[in-house]
Symmetry: C2
């Protein structure tokens, strides 16, 4: 899936930070679009670089009027309001943006295209509201079609949810492209979809159709001639809340290889779960054993999320996991994904006959 680059303003009022604005920071870092402004009156006057530590001179502005001076084509809503409802101040910003002809890209669970006021303004201005989490109309069941894909399929799996699977996939896609491979990314969460311009919001899809949705997207990338497809994982197979979604991904994607993403400092499943994360060896064993009936994918390498460790501790954690698993290990953000791609590359070449 390709999407033509657009000029984007991001609404992050009151919560523009690395911690609170995962979607905003993901889009700024990885999307093909140009972020021209971030709206957060509490941080106005600073740059994105000041706030996030990356992103350069993109200005943080006080409101929609100031953002419009930078000529955006899109207003992207990346943060969740408290309580799930749109506060009245947001209503003003969104209708103003629509009246100015901007598209609205909305990653929230609450659909803006269903809002009578918003849809009226969108129609009047001849623009559109894209609710990223709205499931497609025609869902179908999985049929293991991805077993027949000619592309090499890599699924990012995790020891827990919210651990860095999307980032790992996007870094791997970048790395593969730099090395001349036709590399696709299948987005399965709202941030990934906003970045890629396509995908499926798995957390909004009824269980019967999850693997079918993943299969559809994988086979679409395959038909477009991808050498390698990186599929964004969700949850963790033994997560008491989200394991089902993970298995939907396994059966839909039918991966050739896994990349396991893990945060060494985490002991319990998120959020606030009274359930321990199993040892890494057990996690690997469960994923690999589960899929032996199909392609019998192995964990090819491990992406370690060490953002909360010192540089020394991060390196020690990487060494420890290398030792205990015998697999290539790296922190994709701190040290790059090259060791992971190096483990995948011969397998990609083999399947593609390169």
């Amino acid at each position: 899936m390709t999407i033509s680059p657009r000029r984007i303003a991001i609404l992050a009022e009151g919560s523009f930070s690395l911690l609170d604005a995962k979607t905003a920071s993901g889009v700024i870092r990885y999307s093909p679009h140009e972020t021209v402004a971030v709206i957060d009156s509490t941080k106005a006057g600073r740059t994105v670089q000041d706030v996030l530590g990356f992103g350069g001179a993109i200005p943080v502005v006080s409101g929609i009027a100031e953002a419009l001076e930078r000529k955006p084509e899109v207003l992207l809503i990346g943060i969740a309001p408290m309580g799930g409802q749109f506060p009245s101040t947001w209503r003003k910003i969104i209708t103003y943006a629509l009246d100015s002809g901007l598209e609205i890209w909305n990653g929230l669970h609450a659909f803006m295209s269903d809002d009578e006021e918003f849809s009226r303004h969108a129609a009047a201005a001849g623009t559109r509201i894209w609710d990223v989490r709205k499931p497609p109309a025609n869902l179908s069941c999985g049929e293991a079609r991805a077993l027949k894909a000619r592309a090499f399929i890599v699924l990012a799996i995790g020891s827990d949810c919210n651990v860095g699977k999307m980032t790992t996939c996007l870094e791997l896609q970048k790395c593969a492209r730099e090395r001349g491979y036709k590399a696709a990314f299948v987005a399965t969460g709202q941030t990934g979809i906003l970045i890629a311009g396509d995908g499926t919001p798995l957390d909004a899809i009824p269980g019967d159709f999850m693997s079918g949705e993943v299969e559809r997207l994988v086979m679409q990338c395959d038909a477009e001639g991808a050498d390698v497809i990186f599929v964004e994982g969700q949850g963790a197979v033994l997560h008491p809340g989200f394991g089902a979604v993970t298995l939907g991904l396994l059966l839909g994607a039918m991966p050739d290889s896994f990349v396991l993403v893990h945060q060494p400092t985490r002991t319990n499943h998120r959020p606030d779960c009274d359930v321990e994360i199993p040892p890494l060896s057990h996690v690997i064993d469960v994923y690999e054993h589960l899929m032996t009936w199909y392609k019998a994918p192995k964990v090819a390498a491990i992406a370690l999320n060490t953002h909360d460790l010192s540089s020394n501790d991060s390196q020690r954690a990487v060494e420890d996991v290398k030792q205990s698993t015998g697999l290539p290990v790296t922190d994709p953000v701190r040290a790059g994904v090259e060791p992971i791609f190096a483990a995948l590359e011969p397998l990609i070449k083999l399947k593609r006959g390169l």
Copy 2:
């Protein structure tokens, strides 16, 4: 969950048979309600016994007017119309039933309470429409709470979908009750919900909430003091379309034991799937291995669905599977579930301190 018995008329126009009317036959066989008439003009004048081979003298009648002579309180819609829409003849039957004060119980994907005409008639008559497949409003995520249940939890799992898990559970519940145990049944599909009067329509629940729904129902039965809870399984863990739903059940129910349901004549996953069902030994291994991090449930016994075999072949199949697995095996419908319950009973007693 208990529900007071009601007098039910079943709408099965044009399709009342064991093959086409799974819901109708399930309700007639297992629900605490009294079926007073089945509407199917193509079979009017016969009895349910004539058509299904069980059900006694319940008349099959030509239309709603004739059904009303039998004083039903409920009209149950158990069959799917072609194309998913309600044909106009059905509209007449349903509005007539509503006008006569009957409740409508609807197991279809299409919600009747959302239909303007139906809801108007229901309101005017002071009755209600129960859309069994409508998800509850407040869904929550699974948190492995069922690990703390005091009841013994049995999950019916399958080598494929649509193989007899509900029937096995209902027969086991009956058997346990006859032996003096407080036995609950957690329904997870529309027929089971119509029979039990409660449950969760798992195929309509977004993936993130499936295990949470199962957990909620299991803990409700546990709080009501059940000795043993039989949880209706769905799909099969390696089914390319429905495996995710199955894992949602595993993680939500946190079973103490599995009962595996299998149809020996089936080679490929249903419906029309180009994927072979793994050998039984592999199926057992995958289910047991997957859950070792939690309670490490084992397959205690096997329910064999041999409805499409001769009596001799059925007995041979039972013997074969006994030999190859070393487990108790029976066809619950042809030979009863006693061998399965005998395998579970000591485990139930142990957990309950009986």
